[in-house]
Amino acid sequence: MSSSKRSTIIVEHLRKQQMWDAISKGKRLDGRNLNETRSIEIEQDIIKKANGSAKVKLGNSEVVAGVKVETGEPFEGLENKGALILSAEVLPTASPYSEPGPPDEETIELARVVDRGIRESYMIDLDKLVLVPGKIVYTIFVDCSVINTDGNLFDATSYAVVSALVSSKLPVFEIQDGKVVDTGNKQDPPITTIPISITAVRIGDVVILDPTAEEEACMDARITITTNSNGHYTALQKGSTGAFTVEQIKKAADIARIKGEEIRNKLKELPKTG
């Protein structure tokens, strides 16, 4: 257990007992079923200064993601690919327990797990974002700010990033006389698939989807599973200090694929503004 555990909410013993009782009967304290996710509200293109943006509310968890596009040097070993850089910050607004300062362990994990879901699914075809091979490439920054936390920041942040990237318009850069010039034109990002992450937690022997902060405070173990548009698995992350059986993992993986498809369809129906 790390010191960062202190930042999670404290649930009273009676409340915990109530939660366990409800869960063992297949119900949750907010009235949801075990495999039911909270409502998702997505607003795209809310930040006009960004190249793409989205605000996602997953229950009371709220995240804003913004896309900014620049040019820069490619990463070492990836000379012929555009660069994608993802960061996340839990703002001091997010809960009485969050404080300003450098990201703690949990926030670093959050950014890296969301990044893995986007990167490993090849959501953005980075091969198409090269200006001068080995020298100058598009650099796509996706920065996420968590405004309010009520559990499952992994999925809320992931949906915000995906929605922001889908809504984004990239500037068209050209090389003129050896210099990078912004032509003022815009282009759609080269999107190949829509990755959707689904987080489940185990409380006792029961696995539930999309935990609230209160449920996370009582969880034994957590797993985040990302699938792409073909229903293939592209990223996984087990978290927290408990364990899963192989059966629990395989079952969660099946549910993540089916639920992921539902949420992907929801994202696809969004009116594309901007």
Binding site: M1, E109, T234, G239, T241
Partner: protein
């Protein structure tokens, strides 16, 4: 996205000559750091990793102590000379994340309630990295914890499986990790049959996912045998009937 190089040749051998279901050579030496309460050195292919445990001992700063149990602190760190290009010695985001998942993969095996108000500090130093260093690190760390005499429910064994040339294989090495299709590190408690670490990067179908998970657990069981022999070697010496497996 698409691999160009062949990572499996016409005889079914991988770039380092292994079969698809073969682990790299693993050698574990127990008790290598004299000052530590427990330690282990693992050579896992070309990975060379030291794990050292101090504790249970008093917690500093004191406010971190818990009244009912011990805290486990874990630091995974790569030496600057451990990689092809020099690694900045400051902890990277990757190392912070691995330290966290490593701690979470070991905690289920430890009976921390036995040491209230204390801390166990675990240091995992990668001297040479060769792909799969988190699995090798967890494997060494759980032996170091056992060597420190900490009460445990089970040993944690770790091994990755992955996809290369569209085939599921055991124990991905550095080249296969960089050029292959998927990498799934798994840590497992062999007696309790529980998965304590699970990660994935890469694309797998449902069938491949299930095959990959089963194969990784198979690998963990193989790693466990080697861990057990290393501990037997230290504590029972050559009297053991177990011969080191090649």
């Amino acid at each position: 996205m698409n691999q160009t190089k062949n990572l499996i040749d016409e005889n079914g051998r991988r770039t380092d000559g292994r079969n698809p279901d073969e682990l790299r050579q693993i050698k574990i030496t127990v008790g290598v750091v004299k000052n530590a309460d427990g330690s282990a050195f693992i050579e896992f292919g070309r990975n060379k990793i030291i794990a050292a445990v101090y504790g249970p001992r008093e917690v500093h700063p004191k406010h971190m102590a818990l009244p009912d149990r011990c805290i486990l602190r874990c630091r995974y760190h790569m030496s600057p000379f451990s990689t092809d290009t020099r690694k900045n010695p400051a902890p990277s985001r990757r190392e912070v994340e691995i330290s966290k998942v490593m701690r979470e993969s070991l905690e289920p095996a430890l009976i921390l309630e036995d040491y209230p108000r204390a801390a166990i500090d675990l240091f995992v130093e990668v001297l040479q990295a060769d792909g799969g260093s988190r699995c090798a690190g967890i494997t060494a760390a759980s032996i170091a914890l056992a060597d420190a005499g900490i009460n445990m429910r089970d040993i944690v064994s770790a091994c990755a499986a992955g996809k290369i040339d569209n085939k599921i294989v055991l124990d991905i090495n550095d080249t296969e990790d960089k050029e292959g299709g998927a990498d799934m590190p798994v840590a497992y408690m062999p007696h309790l049959e529980q998965v304590t670490l699970l990660q994935l990067d890469g694309i797998l179908t449902t069938e491949q996912f299930n095959e990959c998970l089963d194969k990784a657990i198979c690998g963990c069981n193989m790693v466990y045998e080697i861990q057990r022999q290393a501990l037997m070697q230290k504590y029972f010496g050559n009297e053991t009937e177990l011969k080191e497996e090649q």
